[in-house]
């Protein structure tokens, strides 16, 4: 009797443990290329960060990264999302495998110089958190790959409409999680997902 109970307890414990380490899902449609199914990934890009360095896909290869879309003069949700990005920055700033990317959708006003001033005023490490600017069409198009709505709209406050999503990308460039950057509770969940993703590479 005692033995049965003990075995049951151990099995229950094992089941609950297994649930905890269930891997993060891959987000997006798979594509069939010559019979092998490839996960949704991010198209080739070429942007410039706040230090004036060119940033391409290869610069984020082998890094977990956390990304969002914003513009500096945004009078609505952007600062709230940035506050949450700052929380995530504080969490990962000592982990060399994780970086942050913030894309502007208003490159006309958000030049390299403007992005540098903005980043300076957030007090962040310029090599850990890149503020990307560049070709407007390329910036708006790549938002699609991250499943972020971002487009020009003269009626929207500040001239652009966009969602406040924060997206988590793994070392192979695949989307593994996202959260609502305006909601601290949603970001709390993202923090757990980041830990989980980091753990899969250990």
């Amino acid at each position: 009797m005692i033995r049965t109970f003990a075995i049951c307890s151990i099995m229950l414990a094992l089941i609950s443990c297994q649930q905890e380490i269930k891997p993060l899902p891959y987000i997006g449609d798979r594509t069939d290329i010559d019979g092998s199914m490839l996960e949704h990934d991010i198209r080739p890009f070429e942007f410039v960060n706040q230090l004036g360095s060119t940033i391409k896909n290869k610069d984020v290869d082998g890094k977990i990264y956390i990304t969002d879309f914003f513009f500096i003069s945004c009078p609505t949700i952007c600062p709230r999302v940035k506050k949450q990005m700052l929380r995530l920055y504080s969490k990962v700033k000592n982990n060399e495998d994780v970086i942050l990317l913030s894309h502007t959708i208003d490159p006309k006003r958000d030049t390299v110089e403007a992005m540098k001033i903005y980043a300076d005023n957030l007090g962040i490490d310029h090599n850990k958190w890149w503020f990307l600017t560049g070709d407007k069409d390329q910036l708006l198009d790549i938002a699609d790959d991250y499943f972020v709505a971002a487009y020009e709209d003269d009626e929207a406050p500040g001239g652009f409409d966009h969602s406040g999503k924060i997206i988590l990308i793994d070392k192979e460039g695949r989307i593994r999680s996202f959260c609502d950057g305006t909601d601290p509770d949603s970001v709390d969940k993202m923090m757990k997902d980041i830990d989980q993703l980091i753990a899969t590479y250990e």
Partner: protein, 133 residues
Amino acid sequence: MSNNLTIILVFCSILLYGIFALYSCAQEPFVQGKRIYEVNCGNCHMSDGHGLGDMYPDITKSDYFTSKKTDLICLIRHGKKGSVMESVIMPANKELTEVGINNLVNYLNYTWGDGSISKLDDVKTALANCQKD
């Protein structure tokens, strides 16, 4: 025996009244002002008033809630040029009514200032005397 019962009843009543009084105090005042703050100010200054780095000012210890109260009303109505970047301004709030501004000012004073109460006439007078840029 009935004396004891009376004492217990009185004691319970006092206790209940105390709990009720505490509960009433715990209700947050200036609910309308808070709502106006969240919609018009909270995106940049944040719900906790701490702003964002050096981009958006922390207002929790602002002298606009103590020595510069009249300026506060004009600042809310007319906004301010950015001190860090030209493209980042404090926008004007032309759509707020005088009553709305009064509610907002009371919420701000209560939350981060000296708790003084602003009256509608104070807002009207201040707005009539704002210095235009």
